[in-house]
Symmetry: C2
Subunit: 324 residues, 2 copies
């Protein structure tokens, strides 16, 4: 198993990425082999300094870097030697089994959608985030920003993808799926939520438990929470800011510590043909290490194939009805 | 000045409402005259017990109560003697200058929209909430649930109504208006946000400062934050749950205390022809007292007339273009 890591992505790369690699290798019983993508001249001395064994991690040189604020498609085109471009080339060619970067999010999404493609039957790949629950458990929220405008069938697919992720990665046997809404009863909400409810209710491949409201997001009411990417992104960033604000104010509590995104590593892209994980720009050692561990788990559990089988055949239908 | 208060609304009515009346009367220098609407047989002894002076507060009998879970329009029709129905009758007839209830939210909204009507030119009345900022200031968020699906012109009107509220009630001289979005630059977001940005930019009657993201909601980036009622309701309820969760876990800090909605009293309905305030079902003494104080301020500042003048003439146009 080879996991590719963009060593140049993120505000604190490459040092924090190298430290993350060390942390992962020292604390993992059967670590994957790592392919470290980036500027060889900078990485070489760092790997030596942090004593990363060459039989566990090898450098693949990438002469360019896509900056955080570059235009994604343009940058991918104009910088074929960038660490992100090289990473997706290795992933598409089967040289690595998963690709991770804390670099330009847009470039990662474009790369995931265009170099390795969506699974057959998937209308819209999605990105998900872990939400810490009041009781110490974790739930999955999706979509968190890839699809700002959605149709009911998209949310229905997110529910399936999220359930499989919760089952195989989070270890939740029968994940409860809820629709994020502004009322508890069926019929409540905006047009999208009103139209999505019956679709989820009819979907026998997920365990739909109904609507949940904003006040339930951090409570133990559902394991998989689906919404459009506009709503999900606002919830995600709001949750992240809570950690930031409480840290800045020295409000300390183990519950608040759970809002530290580094614990969860990064955001998996779901519905594409290979595991891709996007890290936060401000990722440190812990986030990098956890992203590698997550990639390993996604490969170990064969999650992408499970998702593929679940949508098998759907791609053969002439059209998927969008019910909105 | 007569302020009408539904004494039967909310989970802890009428006792907490009576205590709220006492708190308001004892701590206000020039209190308004209060009209207490509800079951005379229950209220009489309570007012005596809490020593509410008859020259400052008089009971208007209402024989019925609309329960929290009744269907709003049906309940208003079938219970003409309910405290909410009586309240709106008094308000429409000019016997009271403002009406407050912590009862059935839906019935309050229907009452506000149909017994006292929207101001000329207002396409959609809206409800707003105070959001505590990291630096101790407060901002206004709207819509928080009255309008689940919106068009750009609705958000534009919310921006104007919110600015006037921030100016006259919150005392912010030149309120910064921001659009809640999932990216900072113009062109980002869902279709609604993309189409609303240019409308707000062109609106010379508000001080538009651009997009803000979920992570900025609790920060001091804007005074008035506009969004559709679906998004706003989820933010509102999530913020409320933070207070609940941190209280339950005994995480105490003055910053978290600001999330106690009772400080702000209730949610004003903006864009209607009289001040109406809707309280939370779990309102206690402090919330009731603060709602009365807010009603008084809305009357004192003549906010409704200021809003009316701001939209004057718009009602005469044949149609208002919805640009979505």
């Amino acid at each position: 198993m080879n996991i590719g890591l963009d060593m140049m992505g993120g505000d604190f790369a490459p040092v924090e990425a190298v430290k993350g690699v060390r942390l992962y290798l020292t604390q993992t019983e059967n670590p994957a082999n790592l392919i470290l993508i980036g500027d060889e001249a900078r990485l070489g001395p760092l790997l030596a300094e942090f004593e990363i064994p060459a039989h566990q991690a090898q450098i693949v040189h990438a002469a360019q870097v896509i900056d955080m604020h570059e235009h994604p498609t343009r940058a991918l085109k104009e910088k074929p030697e960038s660490s992100i471009s090289v990473g997706f080339k290795l992933l598409a060619g089967g040289k690595i089994d998963s690709f991770i970067s804390a670099g330009n999010t847009g470039a990662m999404l474009v790369g995931a959608l265009y170099s390795i493609k969506a699974l057959n039957g998937i209308q819209r790949p999605t990105i998900a985030t872990i939400i810490p629950k009041e009781n110490g458990d974790t739930g999955l929220l999706l979509d968190v920003g890839l699809n700002a405008d959605c149709k009911p069938e998209h949310l229905n697919q997110f529910a399936i993808l999220g359930s499989l992720y919760a089952q195989h990665i989070l270890g939740i046997e029968k994940p409860r799926v809820a629709l994020i809404n502004i009322g508890e009863e069926e019929g409540k909400g905006n047009i999208l939520a009103q139209s999505t409810y019956p679709v989820l209710k009819e979907n026998s491949s997920v365990h739909f438990v109904g609507n949940i409201e904003g006040r339930d997001v951090f409570k133990n009411k559902a394991d998989v929470m689906v919404c459009d990417g506009f709503t999900g992104n606002i919830i995600l960033k709001l949750a992240e800011s809570l950690y930031e604000i409480t840290q800045a104010k020295s409000i300390r509590h183990e519950y608040l510590d759970q809002f530290n995104f580094e614990i969860y590593g990064g955001t998996p892209v779901l519905g594409v043909s290979k595991p891709v994980i996007i890290g936060h720009g401000i990722s440190h050692e812990l986030a990098f290490s956890n992203m590698i561990a997550l990639a390993q788990k996604m490969i170990d559990t064969n999650l992408v194939n499970i998702m593929k089988n679940s949508f098998e055949g759907e791609g053969n239908e002439p059209t998927l009805n969008d019910r909105l």
